[in-house]
Symmetry: C2
Subunit: 105 residues, 2 copies
DNA sequence: TATTATTTATTCTATAAATTAGAAAAAACT
DNA sequence: AGTTTTTTCTAATTTATAGAATAAATAATA
């Protein structure tokens, strides 16, 4: 019963969606643009590190590009365990959200 | 941009589902039975307190029932803010999970 | 062409908040 | 008194939050 946190879920899903362009800055930007979520810098990199440590993501150093500047990008990819973790969340969501009774205030 | 945690979501949804029978023990039991999630005692009561403090739940003392024993139950109910918080999560889930590309390992 | 400025990006670290675990206390019935 | 059901309380661990510091590359300027 290992259940990932909300932040971990959102980051894993973003890595999934960004495919070969998932690194700190684009992940943060996607969460802002797509979902309106304002994460601080640490709010992205701290969980990214943790997800790699836990084996749900792998990371690899990007090559320098003919763009302005910056440290070389660290790209992320889902591992099979990362996909599994997301699948468990999806199942959990289905169980918890389906067939709710009428709300009773 | 106030986004509830996974535990908060699960507890709010359980209170919703249990209607007039939502108190610490039944909430814990439902999470175990329906979703296989093993929360410790504190894992339920600590966030319940917080959700009341935040105004997403209200609580009221139950009357003694002709059952064996125990402190009198504290029942919980969703507030409108609690419902709103869940709706925001639902929207977020839709945004994040819909139309994911093929997974690219 | 050096030198400085600007841009893009990560690393690092401290504080706050949430989770986890379970012992202790409370209250009722047997 | 003993047993059962339930909550209260609190300490330790893990996550989240925030942003300064650092790094590395190009662009601008003297």
């Amino acid at each position: 019963m290992d259940i990932i946190t909300r932040t971990e879920e959102l980051i894993l899903l973003t890595v999934w969606r960004l495919r070969d362009n998932a690194y700190g800055i684009t992940i943060r930007k996607h969460l802002k643009d797509a979902a309106g979520l304002d994460y601080s810098i640490g709010g992205i990199y701290v969980p990214l590190d943790r997800l790699v440590r836990k084996g749900l993501l792998t990371s690899y150093q990007g090559n320098p590009t003919p763009q302005r500047g910056g440290m070389s990008k660290r790209f992320y990819k889902l591992t099979p365990d990362g996909i599994d973790a997301l699948e468990r969340i999806r199942t959990l969501n289905t169980i918890m959200w389906d067939n709710l009774p009428e709300p009773s205030f």
